[in-house]
Amino acid sequence: MPKTVLVIDDDRDIREVAKTSLELVGGFMVILADSGKSGVDLAQQARPDAIILDLMMPDLDGQQTLVQLKQLPETASIPVIMLTAKVQASKKELVSKGAAGVLVKPFDPMQLSDQVCEILGWTLTGKDVGHDGSPKE
């Protein structure tokens, strides 16, 4: 049974690339939410194995969403990886608020699954082999 990852991001591009990458490269099952509020609701219902959460979102932002997820009994134990642009909040601050780790945008779709596994201590089983097929120029 593949692990389920919930991606919460208001940017459609990020959601779609993360889904494509995590499913095809990592073999994960991916569910998506486009706001902090819908992400919290979905996390409570689906109980994913991990959450990737964008920091900068309108209304309920990433830090507020993280706090809510950590306060709710159904979601408190789910590891949350924050997704941030290079210039945003520090990793130390986010980890102090309960984040399992931080991923920086833009991420490499070929590397995302490995990065998630590295942060969470998971072993990647859903892909074939290494990364010589990277899309980088």
């Binding site: 494509t20 210039v87 833009p106 074939d128 990277s134 899309p135």
Partner: protein
């Protein structure tokens, strides 16, 4: 990654890029409108905030498609606009024009978008 799997991923990412490109161009247009208001002395808080948001989203998304130079250009625009609502006109116009050129290159082919801005 095995070549077949790699091709599958590339193909899927290409489809995502093709559906995302119109939005990227809309964000570019937001930056161009802001540059125009700067030039005419009519920029306001709203146009600046919209431009800052557009630059932020472009810098975060273009790199995922391998458009690293365009992503870097958007990141520079974001940093420039992040200093305040009245950034240097010449620098803003120059960077926005550069971004326009880089994104225009992606129009030439629908294959392997990841390699277009190298």
């Amino acid at each position: 990654m095995a070549p077949q799997k790699s091709d599958e991923v590339r193909s899927a990412l290409e489809k995502v890029w093709l559906s995302s490109r119109p939005e990227a161009l809309r964000r570019l247009a937001t930056l161009e409108r802001f540059a125009e208001t700067l030039r005419s002395g009519t920029s306001d808080q709203m146009s600046w905030q919209n431009a800052l948001s557009a630059a932020h989203r472009l810098s975060g998304s273009l790199g995922m498609f391998g458009l690293n130079e365009a992503s870097s250009c958007a990141e520079k625009i974001e940093a420039l606009l992040g200093d305040g609502p009245t950034p240097d006109l010449a620098a803003t116009v120059s960077l926005v024009e550069r971004l326009r050129m880089l994104l225009a290159r992606t129009q030439a082919s629908s294959r392997e978008p990841q390699r277009r801005d190298s």
